[in-house]
């Protein structure tokens, strides 16, 4: 990258918007322009590139304030059309999440539908219960409300508008119902989400203009980027944004409750981010074609966190309606509406051209170096050394069978590890071996021990040891270190105790 040739300020662009001579293009138009004239010319010509997306975004919800009843109530639990909202905050504040299911209608109706019904101005059944306090004596309330009865209804979405998202397919024998839609067996289809070149964050992948406070199109009105989105992972091209805006001003054309078969409810959110073309670098990323936008096709037939990558795909291929998977042509479903994405980019363009929408410079840019960590493993898997008996009664090969019989008679166990003078495990003798040996001419333990001992390593996970015991039909194993030194003994009793403790 050489010296920057074009330099513009957001204040300067706003000045042109005010005068009505700002040049605004949608991302689709910008791709054509950059292809035709190059990024420097495009940067000189264009002030703002508009984007849009309309996709199911589960990490969405609305903060509601109901106002106080008389006598007042401190809501402990609250339901809107039988969908529970979170009210672990002040008395009459609650957050209804898009993915929360109705307690009476299940998958057919959820938080996303409540949000759409609120925006449509429909009546919503409100029910709340409380424990009652001196200051909030009321214990229950039931009524119907509309969005107009609420003091505030603020859409606050912790994670929206993924920069890109992996496409999905299914290698398995059964049809899968996932958040990526219905995935037919044997690579029967492919689904993907994202609006290609219109995808907002893909136009500024280095986060040079997008940040906290950026004014955006949200649900049909003007909203803001509140923060980086949860799981914001720009290091891997998977940035996200948290968004905020007044639900009262939003339109049901751009907020739709939905049910994803076999998965649950969600909310389709219409969102568009204006990208100020402040230099040719931004012009280049804002004008990058579909063929430059790559994502991975993942196999959802493997039910793990890290699903195998089937192949890399470009958005150009995905948008063509069919792609090749394992030598076969497979039909593709977009899950987000390209039609509405385009409509949103056009609408935002119109607002800016008419001087109804001004750019708000980011108070702070979004982080560019964060990555998304997997879940911290809850409940560490115990190892053999954690639960084994360390004080082990042992014997040597030269000890007599009679002495072993005495040990078994005195102590309550069935396994006697046999070690040499260096403490190395050389065999095992069980109480059964001794019982069989009594009455024969055998005198020493070396005559009856089993030299081939199934052992466990100190650092072997318990689950693995349990499988080993079961597989060999034995009730205990000596635990040894890497040199074969005896370190302890582990029996089915120890494992039962562990399970018993875990249950408690």
């Amino acid at each position: 990258m050489g010296k920057i040739k074009v330099k513009k300020s957001i204040a300067g662009i706003n000045e042109r918007i005010k005068r009505g001579d700002a040049v605004v293009t949608t991302a689709e138009e910008m791709v054509e322009l950059v292809r035709e004239k190059g990024e420097v010319e495009a940067a000189k010509e264009v002030d703002v590139v508009t984007t849009g997306t309309f996709a199911a975004m589960c990490s969405s919800g609305v903060w509601l304030n109901f106002g106080h009843s008389d006598p007042p109530i401190k809501m402990q639990r609250v339901w809107l059309n039988d969908v529970e909202a979170y009210t672990g905050v002040a008395a009459v504040d609650a957050y209804i999440g898009a993915a929360q299911l109705s307690e009476t209608r299940g998958f057919d109706y959820g938080g996303g539908h409540v949000i759409e019904d609120l925006v449509r101005g429909k009546e919503i059944a409100l029910r709340a219960i409380a424990y009652g306090t001196d200051c909030y004596p009321r214990k229950e309330i039931e009524m119907t409300i509309t969005i107009h009865d609420l003091n505030q209804a603020v859409l606050y979405n912790p994670r929206n508008a993924y920069q890109r998202y992996a496409a999905a397919t299914n290698s398995g024998e059964e049809t899968l119902y996932t958040y990526m839609g219905t995935l037919l067996s044997n690579y029967g289809n492919v689904t993907f989400s994202g609006a290609g070149v219109l995808n907002p964050l893909s136009r500024d992948p280095n986060y040079e203009t997008i940040g906290v406070g950026t004014r955006i199109f949200l649900g049909g009105t003007q909203g803001y980027i509140a923060w980086e989105g949860t799981q914001h992972n720009p290091t891997h091209g998977l940035g996200t944004i948290a968004t905020i805006g007044s639900l009262k001003e939003m339109s049901p054309s751009y907020l739709r409750g939905c049910t994803i078969r076999g998965y649950g409810t969600s909310l389709y959110v219409g969102l568009g981010v204006p990208i100020p073309i402040i230099n040719e670098n931004i012009a280049r990323t804002a004008g990058a074609g579909e063929e430059q936008l790559k994502t991975e096709l993942l196999d959802y037939g493997v039910p793990r966190r890290d699903r195998p990558v089937v192949r890399e795909v470009t958005y150009a291929e995905l948008l063509s309606g069919k792609i090749e998977v394992k030598g076969k042509e497979v039909p593709v479903s977009p899950l987000s509406s390209f039609k509405l994405a385009r409509e949103i980019a056009d609408k935002l363009k119109g607002w800016i051209e008419k001087g109804e929408f001004f750019l708000n410079p980011a108070a702070e840019l979004l982080p560019r170096d964060t990555a998304f960590k997997p879940m911290k493993q809850i409940g560490v898997v115990p190892l053999a050394k954690d639960i084994m008996t360390k004080k082990v009664v042992i014997a040597t090969p030269r000890d007599s069978i009679a002495s072993a019989a005495r040990i078994f008679a005195e102590k309550n166990f069935d396994h006697l590890p046999i070690v040499d003078q260096n403490g190395k495990l050389v065999g095992i003798v069980t109480s059964w071996d001794i019982a069989v040996a009594v009455g024969t001419k055998k005198r020493r333990l070396s005559d009856v021990l089993t030299p081939k001992v199934i052992t466990a390593r100190e650092d072997e996970p318990i689950d693995e040891v349990a499988r080993k015991l079961e597989r060999h039909g034995i009730s205990g194993v000596p635990v040894v270190d890497a040199e074969g030194q005896l370190k302890g003994i582990l029996t089915t009793d120890d494992i039962s105790m562990l399970v018993w403790r875990r249950r408690r």
Partner: protein, 134 residues
Amino acid sequence: MIKKVLLRYSTQRATEPILASVIKQTGVLLNILYADFTSRGGEILLSIDAPEQDVGKVIGLLKQRGVEVQELKRVIQLDEEKCFSCGACLSLCPTRALRLADDYSVKLEEDKCIYCEICVPSCPVQALKISKYG
């Protein structure tokens, strides 16, 4: 033209090779989209792809043999008010009856539909509806 008709017939007629004889007599190829038979009688959803005159002939012969014939105008419906063209249905449709138009809106061509119904529960906003009885 493609015409879809729903045939209903009584249990008494069930043993007669009605469709086969109509096909033989008219030479018109009939496509069975759906068939069901219970103790109360049977029903067959038929697609007839033939000139109008031949379609009339087929229907006439079926009626002659005691079959109740109901012409279906629309069996599957895409509610364009509800549909916002997400496209979730597209890759599930085995006959491409559901497709994306040039303006990226989802379109339904009922002539191609074989009523497998897989699209119906996969629509996130229940914009697709099937009613076999028109």
